[in-house]
């Protein structure tokens, strides 16, 4: 029998081993990318797309997300970062080796249809999301570039940074672009400039304002049919309904694992938290649904949560508070919750981007698949909160408070998001009425010059001390 000291030593060694093996895996992923592109193509790619160099920071990201965590929670984060790195490699290989099949899609337009047509999806906003994860200041030059070109400084920095990459000529050239009117005016409007700059054909899906009825499903399923026809006209892609069925079935399996994970989060202390919930969702349910790897990652997250649950352990050593984060996560401060966990015992259990009420896709016929995909797109993450009446924004939020037994709501009030800024007054009053403490974090999604990480930490500290009357753990 191992003594208590031995157990601690063994746990520490195992944690170290997990980090080391993922670190090696990450280097292997980078080497793999270089090998597949070959020296000449790699040189050209690095010159045309200098942001590729940021991938070398992947192990630093892994450290930020694993060092303060332990056991299954640490392992989940390490697996997640390594998997994301490898997924990114796959996507980059698609872009550089098969540009003819590459179709850019807006982040809220899920790519199942593109997979079904044998095309290579590249998420338009991917770089604006991934680069600040690797380097919090990575998007600043692109934001500046967009502003120099006349894009208003008050526009949300995600479309602004994305536009900056396009205007800088650093966005991989696609065969076609597919976007929509989601999630907001700025996100939608940016594609005018995409179209002009990249000279690529553009199709924009039109999501109705009120999308919770059959009339909207019918209209939007029609939009998806028109998209398929348009893609067949403008790309070499051809719809293979059997392949789409496989993609949808795979997606269903990943969501099944996700729902299992969510069920476990209701337990106190929660056996999993933060990135394995929201980052895994962002990459493997939103950006890459229907891939075998997506199911594997979601199952790994659920398996590791179950491991903790069976041992009666929480993800955090001390779970003092359970939180939902509303609005997209703070991409320029991705390790906010790694810090909040060790400083205040705050466990992030759910967020706006992750929580959904999507149906499993009924794969019995082309029509059922399109109709369920229509529902998924219209009711997609964030889209259903920023479209439609305000009730869409609040209903999910207060449901989460009850469902997951949350102590407070953190609102990541991205200054560029005018849509949700215009709901802040109502949100404050509703939280007050329901007795739910609300922290409003004033910041910019991608631009640390507006509010630094230190500034965000101070906002959290002040809230925890004055509103929650808590003492710091460390």
């Amino acid at each position: 029998m191992m003594g208590a000291a031995g157990e601690v030593w063994w746990a520490g060694a195992r944690d170290g081993l997990v980090s080391a093996s993922c670190r090696v895996r990450n280097w292997a992923t980078i080497a793999h990318l270089g090998a597949s592109l070959g020296p000449r193509r790699l040189r050209v790619a690095l010159r045309k797309h200098p942001w590729l160099r940021k991938l070398l920071l992947v192990n630093r990201l892994q450290d930020r997300l694993t060092q303060s965590r332990c056991g299954a929670y640490r392992q989940a984060n390490a697996i997640l970062v390594s998997s994301i790195a490898d997924t990114l490699r796959e996507m980059l290989e698609g872009v550089f080796l098969h540009p003819d099949l590459t179709v850019v899609h807006e982040d809220l337009v899920p790519p199942e249809l593109l997979f079904g047509m044998g095309l290579r999806p590249w998420m338009a906003e991917l770089l604006g999301i991934v680069l600040p994860m690797l380097d919090p200041r990575a998007c600043e030059p692109y934001i500046d570039r967009a502003e120099i070109e006349g894009i208003p400084s008050d526009l949300c920095s995600l479309p602004k940074a994305t536009l900056g990459i396009v205007l800088q000529g650093q966005m991989p050239a696609p065969r076609a672009v597919v976007s929509s009117n989601m999630p907001c005016d700025g996100g939608m409007a940016q594609y005018t400039i995409w179209e002009r700059k990249l000279k690529a054909p553009l199709f924009q899906l039109d999501v109705p304002y009120d999308f919770y009825d059959e009339r909207a499903v019918e209209y939007f399923a029609g939009e998806l049919r028109r998209l398929v026809a348009w893609l067949q006209e403008h790309t070499p892609g051809r719809m293979d309904w059997d392949r789409l069925r496989e993609v949808c079935d795979e997606r269903n399996r990943a969501v099944e694992a996700q729902i299992e994970l969510w069920d476990m989060l209701r337990v106190r202390p929660a056996p999993m938290a933060a990135e394995p919930i929201y980052l895994a969702n962002m990459v493997y349910v939103v950006a890459r649904p229907g891939m075998r790897r997506s199911t594997e990652v979601m199952r790994s997250m659920a398996r590791l949560a179950r491991e903790n649950l069976e041992q009666g352990k929480g993800a955090l050593p001390v779970e003092k508070h359970r939180v939902a984060l509303w609005n997209p996560p703070t991409m320029m401060f991705l390790d906010l919750f790694a810090w909040a966990e060790r400083t205040w015992g705050v466990s992030l259990l759910m967020d706006m981007i992750t929580f959904h009420r999507h149906p499993f896709i009924d794969t019995r016929s082309e029509d059922t698949m399109l109709r369920d995909l229509a529902r998924i797109v219209m009711q997609g993450p964030m889209a259903r909160h920023t479209r439609g009446p305000a009730d869409n924004f609040f209903r999910d939020l207060f449901h989460l408070v009850d469902h997951f037994g949350l102590d407070m709501i953190w609102m990541a009030a991205n200054v560029g998001c005018k849509n949700t800024q215009a709901l802040m007054g109502m949100l404050r009053e509703k939280c007050r009425t329901q007795g739910v403490p609300l922290l409003v974090i004033d910041y910019d999604l991608l631009d640390a010059r507006v509010e630094s990480q230190e500034g965000i930490r101070s906002q959290v500290d002040r809230f925890m001390q004055t509103v929650m009357r808590q003492e710091r753990l460390s």
């Binding site: 070109e149 006349g150 894009i151 208003p152 008050d154 526009l155 949300c156 479309p159 009117n181 907001c184 005016d185 700025g186 939608m188 409007a189 940016q190 594609y191 005018t192 400039i193 179209e195 002009r196 553009l202 199709f203 924009q204 039109d206 109705p208 304002y209 009120d210 009339r215 209209y219 029609g222 939009e223 028109r226 920023t386 009446p389 305000a390 200054v415 005018k418 849509n419 800024q421 215009a422 709901l423 802040m424 007054g425 109502m426």
Partner: protein, 383 residues
């Protein structure tokens, strides 16, 4: 200019949406239906028993109440409307008809419902695309609105009643269009600010209450303006400007632009002559006709995939109205016009059209700065 004096009523209506003309109509039993924005067909709100009033908030000095809810980083037009709704200045509005045109407008309606709970408030679900599917969708929305109006106000919104309303509205538009056409003359018979007063007033009062005055105005303008008198040399002296933008409903703003020597001959904005003065089809299904009119004539940047079409339209209007330059006015915090503005400036400059881009707030102000910017622009144009 011809020296024709504009009826004072037009200016008064611009300053006061609850003017005596409006009050009188309400005392006679007609209900005022406030609406925004250009996509809402006025004839549907102008059947017997009700009249349409485009929602405006003139005289707004600040928006402290609205800022609490909408935040100060949103478009100042919906903030101003909400402010006036909250402080009672829009109490003469009996019903609200809004459209999901942009994020700030949608959120304004959310907050209006939360804070003021108006008895009648309908949000029309407006597609972001043109084409037959979108028109069919929007026509259905208009039918839904017609039913709701009928139920709430007991008015007749049958197809026949709507067709009659469309005919009256078309007659009204024809007068405005004729007035607008006069501005193609050089020199134009009226200033851009005066034309703006006429349009804004006609969006504010019941259309029938202005008909005789508008007809009289048109007759005197047409008589006074006569044939073009200027020589080519003279034309060079008075730069003709086309104002482009969103919600510009304060004629004093246009006055400032004109005070430094330019003359605004055409206005491609929500309260201007381009587009919107085109007649609506009078036969067939009225809802379908109004939906088609709204979606086919619009030049709003909230419509997806139509940028090149908008540029082509604008270039055509620049030629048609003999404009020497474009003043592009975008509302601060408007994402749609913010991005459109960047692309539009580049497209116009590529086409060799001088363009001045101004960022403004709904309530105006900063007259000195505005005057300096326009003056510098005219000098840069060589005027």
């Amino acid at each position: 200019m011809t020296g024709v004096v504009l009826d004072r009523l037009f200016g008064e209506l611009c300053d006061d949406p609850a003017h005596a003309v409006v009050t009188r109509a309400r005392e006679q039993g007609r209900r005022a239906i406030g609406y925004a924005c250009s996509f809402v067909p006025a004839p549907l709100l102008s059947v017997e028993g009700i009249f349409a009033q485009r929602l405006r908030a003139p005289g707004t000095c600040g928006t402290p109440l609205a800022d609490t809810y909408l935040s100060s980083v949103g478009c100042s037009y919906p903030r101003s409307v909400l402010e006036q709704a909250m402080d009672g200045r829009l109490d003469h509005i009996d019903g609200w008809v809004m459209v999901s045109s942009c994020d700030p407008m949608r959120r304004m309606v959310d907050n209006l419902r939360y804070l003021c709970d108006p008895r009648f408030c309908v949000m029309l679900d407006l597609p972001h695309k043109k084409g037959p599917h979108a028109e069919a969708w929007y026509a259905q929305e208009l039918r839904r609105l017609a039913q709701a109006l009928s139920k709430a106000f007991g008015v007749d919104t049958s197809d026949d009643a709507l067709r009659a309303s469309i005919r009256r509205h078309n007659a009204h538009l024809a007068t405005l269009r004729a007035l607008s056409e006069l501005r193609k003359k050089d020199p134009p018979p009226m200033s851009g600010a005066d034309f703006h007063r006429i349009v804004v007033a006609s969006f504010t009062a019941p259309e029938d209450s202005l008909r005789s005055r508008l007809d009289a105005m048109l007759a005197s303008m047409a008589e006074a303006s006569g044939p073009e008198k200027r020589t080519q040399e003279c034309k060079r002296a008075a730069p003709r400007l086309l104002v482009v933008g969103s919600c510009i409903d304060d004629p004093r703003h246009v006055e400032v632009v004109e005070s430094v020597g330019g003359v605004v001959v055409a206005d491609r904005h929500c309260f201007g002559c381009l587009p919107g003065l085109e007649p609506i089809a009078e036969d067939g299904d009225p809802a379908a006709a109004m939906a088609a009119h709204a979606l086919r004539t619009t030049q709003c940047p909230r419509m997806m995939g139509a940028f090149e079409e908008r540029v082509a339209y604008l270039m055509g209007q620049i030629r048609a109205w003999g404009a020497d330059g474009v003043v592009l006015e975008t509302m601060k915090f408007c994402d749609l016009w913010g991005v459109e503005g960047a692309a539009l400036v580049a497209a116009l400059r590529d086409a060799g059209v001088p363009v001045l881009r101004l960022e403004r707030e709904y309530a105006g102000g900063n007259e000195g700065q505005l005057r300096t910017r326009v003056q510098a622009f005219l000098e840069a144009m060589g005027r």
